[in-house]
């Protein structure tokens, strides 16, 4: 009855309908959330709580683990290296991915299909397989080294270096940059470029004044995904890098697997999450401001 009255009473918004819905109906709707809710609780919230629990209680209750972490110069170097690696990977993905996504949008249907496939095939291939392929490519007497020797550049150490790690991670994460950017670019109205040229702007000006600003939300989305994935990347740095230039994920692994220091591992997890959230918050502010002016793109 309440529903009928609400219908008669005046303008209906989604809120009023839900508010006035019979209790059984409301529970029915909430029931649809149960599977996702369970997954979220079991898969994310419980492990997160356990991690926090260990960080503050193992081996003894208090801030001991954090004191150790913040006092350890080695750990801070590793944290810094993790972030610079993530930044480098993101920048490389940006430099390679932006022109690639642009080519996908600009290409005809046939070429676009080929380009899309070239992004997706590695995406579908096992991470381990790809990383081992990079081990072979980057190794000291591998194809890349012999190519460098042939062109006269001599030996540039790649395997077991941070450079090798960055190369491998960039290749693994490139699709995560290209695909969201491509999605944004396909939604840019190309007539805007025609309009720009009719108004007297050459192709380069049109690109920088119209296309680039309108594609920035895609750049933001791709960069975020790549950057955050890079921070916690384990397999590729473990196989392509060395203990001497390890990243935070390898440290966590060592603490748990080698030293049974669950508390310290948990602490690193917490540090990583807090810093990541802080960066996300800053970027959300910046991107939120720039996209709010771009909404309404047809």
């Amino acid at each position: 009855m309440a529903t009928v009255e609400a219908l008669v009473a005046g303008p209906i918004t989604a809120d009023t309908v839900i508010d006035q819905a019979a209790p059984s109906k409301r529970w029915g709707r909430l029931g649809l959330l149960v599977p996702a809710g369970l997954l979220l609780i079991i898969g994310f919230i419980v492990p997160l709580v356990i991690m926090l629990w260990y960080a503050f209680t193992d081996p003894s209750v208090g801030f001991g683990n954090f004191a150790w972490y913040l006092g350890d110069a080695v750990q801070q170097r590793i944290l810094l290296r993790t972030f610079t690696t993530a930044v480098n990977v993101t920048v490389i993905c940006l430099l390679l991915g932006y022109p690639y996504a642009y080519a996908m949008v600009a290409a005809g249907p046939k070429l676009r299909a080929v380009l899309t496939l070239l992004v997706l095939v590695p995406f579908w291939t096992s991470l381990m397989v790809r990383t081992f392929a990079w081990v072979i490519l980057l190794q000291d007497h591998g194809p890349i080294q012999s190519l460098l020797a042939t062109v006269g550049l001599g030996q540039i150490p790649l395997i077991r270096t941070n450079l090798g790690v960055v190369i491998g991670m960039s290749q693994v994460l490139l699709p995560f940059f290209v695909l969201p950017l491509y999605a944004v670019m396909t939604n840019i109205d190309r007539r805007l470029i025609l309009a720009s040229s009719s108004l007297g702007a050459g192709p380069i000006t049109s690109f920088f004044r119209i296309w680039l600003p309108l594609s920035l939300p895609g750049v933001g989305a791709g960069s975020l995904i790549v950057f955050i994935s890079s921070l916690g990347f384990y397999v590729t740095p473990a196989l392509l890098g060395s203990p001497g230039n390890s990243l935070i994920s390898q440290q966590i692994f060592t603490q748990v697997n080698g030293l049974l220091q669950w508390g310290r591992a948990g602490t690193m997890g917490v540090v990583l999450i807090v810093i990541t959230l802080a960066i996300l918050a800053i970027l959300a502010l910046v991107i939120g401001r720039s996209t709010s002016t771009i909404k309404g793109v047809r």
């Binding site: 109205d189 007539r191 805007l192 025609l194 309009a195 720009s196 040229s197 009719s198 108004l199 007297g200 702007a201 050459g202 000006t205 049109s206 004044r209 119209i210 600003p213 309108l214 002016t293 771009i294 909404k295 309404g296 793109v297 047809r298």
Partner: protein, 383 residues
């Protein structure tokens, strides 16, 4: 450049202009010219080549053959951004990340005008389109009509000598379209710029244009003033696309000083016509020029055809009758509100008209080539 010289429109000449996509010919060797300051409309159904022609003038589409001259100079080598033409698109194409003011200032920035002058010109242009106070809004905060006004301001702010418009009112509702039509007409008169305007809406073309070029299947059927096209259509397609027409089919015959159409049961006379004698032809009369007369009493003299009224459409200021002739074809008659006769659907009537109101035109309706023109205009297109 002084103000008087830039406000002067440019002359545009199209010589045997052709665009082919593979085997398909979109624009077929058209010749057309626009006088400086003229309002020229390219009118035609979709796929008739009018938009392709406009895009070739703008430089967005490459020319296959022929040439485009602006003030006698070929523009073939110039990319769109160097042609210095204004363009207004159907879907506005405002830059969504720039304010209204920045959108309008965009072409001025490309021309490196000093900031103070930019501000003055932007205010001027927004004033002309009646949006003086909206400079700081973002495009998405505006209605469709306002967005199109901004697009118009942006296209005229740098005083281009040619303004191209591609169905600019196509996305707007009827009321708004009518008021913007008048505004476009006013702005054209103020600027003295040459306007080339594409539309499929014949009413819009009649309201706005100095001259109209009627496009059909990549060719121009006729170029002329609204009055020329309506009163002296040179093809059946034009007669049917611009306004409504009633067609009486038959074979062309010579008749004194004029022409006539002969069919099995009657010969009809027209003072004008270019159909070749003996060829399939149609005598074309505007529905409001036809009188309906009851079948009782004596047969009228002059042009008279028997028919049966199928239905009546009441339009307020007039009524339209659909009348079926003896050969099964249907024609329209329009009676204005003051002259409505007593004839009702089902009545047998005489249709009469004067020879000076009729024209005999070559019919492309022959057994091996089905009539296409009828498909474009619904018989009862309402206004």
């Amino acid at each position: 450049m002084s103000d008087s010289s830039i406000s002067q429109g440019a002359a545009i000449t199209l010589n045997k202009l052709t665009k082919r996509y593979g085997d398909a010919t979109a624009v077929d060797a058209i010749d057309l010219n626009a006088e400086p300051g003229e309002f020229l409309t390219l009118l035609g159904p979709s796929g008739s080549g009018k938009t392709t022609t406009l895009n070739m003038i703008a430089g967005f589409v490459d020319v296959t053959e022929g040439e485009i001259l602006v003030d006698g100079k070929p523009v073939y080598a110039l990319p769109p951004h160097k042609r210095n033409m204004g363009m207004v698109f159907q879907h506005y194409a405002l830059f969504p990340h720039m304010s209204v003011g920045d959108n309008v200032a965009y072409p001025l920035r490309q021309r490196r005008l000093p900031k103070s002058e930019r501000g003055r010109l932007v205010a001027d242009a927004l004033n002309k389109v009646g949006l003086a106070n909206l400079s700081h809004r973002m495009p998405r905060q505006l209605s469709g009509g306002q967005q199109q006004r901004v697009a118009l301001a942006r296209a005229i702010v740098y005083s281009p000598r040619v303004l191209l418009m591609d169905e600019p009112l196509g996305a707007l509702d009827k009321k708004l379209r009518d008021s913007l039509q008048l505004e476009i007409k006013r702005i054209h008169a103020e600027l003295g710029t040459t306007f080339v305007y594409v539309t499929h809406d014949q009413d819009e073309a009649l309201v706005l244009s100095d001259r109209i070029a009627v496009f059909n299947q990549g060719k121009i059927e006729q170029v002329g003033s609204a009055q020329d096209l309506y009163e002296r259509p040179s093809t059946i397609f034009v007669a049917q696309f611009v306004g409504e027409s009633s067609l009486f089919h038959g074979l062309a015959v010579d008749h004194g000083a004029g022409k006539g159409v002969l069919s099995s049961d009657r010969t009809l006379h027209a003072h004008r016509g270019d159909a070749r004698t003996g060829a399939p032809a149609a005598l074309v009369v505007r529905p409001e020029r036809i009188r309906v007369q009851s079948i009782d009493g004596t047969a009228p003299s002059g042009n008279a055809v028997r028919g049966r009224i199928l239905q009546e459409i009441y339009l307020g200021n007039s009524r339209k009758l659909e009348v079926e002739l003896g050969d099964g074809s249907k024609v329209l008659v329009r009676e204005s509100a003051g002259d409505v006769t007593a004839n009702r659907p089902g009545d047998l009537v005489w249709l009469t008209f004067r020879a000076e109101d009729a024209v005999v035109l070559t019919s492309n309706e022959s057994p091996d080539r089905p009539q296409a023109a009828d498909d474009h205009v619904p018989v009862f297109a309402s206004h």
